[in-house]
Symmetry: C2
DNA sequence: GGCACTTGCTTGAAGTATCAACCTCTACAA
DNA sequence: TTGTAGAGGTTGATACTTCAAGCAAGTGCC
């Protein structure tokens, strides 16, 4: 006789519980930690910092809103609000897209670039201290691979064109 | 001659970059995914669900505010607001601590327990689908161990009594 | 007791996130 | 053309988070 009936959900085993809780705890603590670090040292939350990085890496330091949202894995709405805030800081500027009148570019300003350069060393140090310095090379590799799988699983597997996950 | 000067930060290598971005992407997507799943199916964000779980596991389904905050890895302030909201839903109730008049217990109500029982299967299914089902046993093990290390590193290593991380 | 210091928890304001509604523009076809 | 469906992006209301400030009760010490 099978212990699991058809409508009885497959609960997590003790081992899985431990894994899942370790994951939740680590991500909660690390997220908070980096948010505070950047809020203190750069005056913005972690995800905003990521937006500046995304722009800094792009050609001409600019990206269409939707592209940036995809890069950062956030919704367009969230990005819109975030860019509004960064614009108020003078770190990003919006520019109309010449070829598509609906489109907007987010452009990293010189001032934004400065802020990024100024805060990057401290942030990298924080990431090293909390993350890389504590893991062996093998652990880093394994974790990276696992995370890649998780991320891929939650993205619109098919296209890059249609973006259901941005709802 | 060494390429890294004393004040030049140790930037992330390409390999480290990939690992770190995979981590950020996976956690961002998974966090959003589970928040939406629970908001839709249980009417609360992921972390609130975790609070109910914490209470359900505790003796007499109650925990001191500070203990619950520690369990959930959040600040007391955040917990205070969260419990206020859950109280409004009738899922949690506050109770005075008899032995310490400053103290408060958060108590899971029957109604809160019901909500938890009702939404747990769907949530476990979502976690399995997004996380466990995609990883091999070895990957789960490695990831769990790495996450445990990260979490431990961000906690007040020393005591359980003083809680500097709760600021 | 009286004093200072700490712990436990809450509060309000300001910042950020989410969701649904909305507007404009593009693409495409009748 | 005109219609229409969809894409690109914004907005406002509501919910949640954060931070600093606050208050009341416990603790230690004279």
């Amino acid at each position: 006789m099978n212990t699991a009936s058809a409508d009885e959900p497959r609960w997590l085993s003790d081992e899985e519980q431990r894994t899942w809780r370790a994951y939740i705890h680590a991500t909660t603590l690390l997220d908070d930690h980096l948010d505070r670090q950047l809020q203190r040292d750069a005056g913005m939350p972690h995800i905003y910092y990521g937006l500046l990085v995304g722009l800094a890496e792009a050609p001409r330091r600019r990206l269409r809103m939707t592209e940036l949202a995809m890069k950062a894995k956030i919704t367009r709405s969230r990005l819109s609000h975030a860019i509004a805030r960064l614009e108020k800081n003078g770190w990003v500027r919006r520019e109309d897209c010449p070829s598509d009148k609906r489109g907007q570019f987010a452009v990293l300003t010189d001032e934004g670039y400065e802020v990024l350069m100024r805060s990057a060393p401290g942030h990298v140090a924080a990431v090293r201290q909390a993350f890389f310095d504590r893991l062996t090379a093998d652990q880093q590799k394994a974790l990276g691979e696992a995370m890649l799988i998780i991320a891929e699983g939650l993205q619109p597997e098919g296209a890059g064109a249609d973006l259901p996950w941005l709802r």
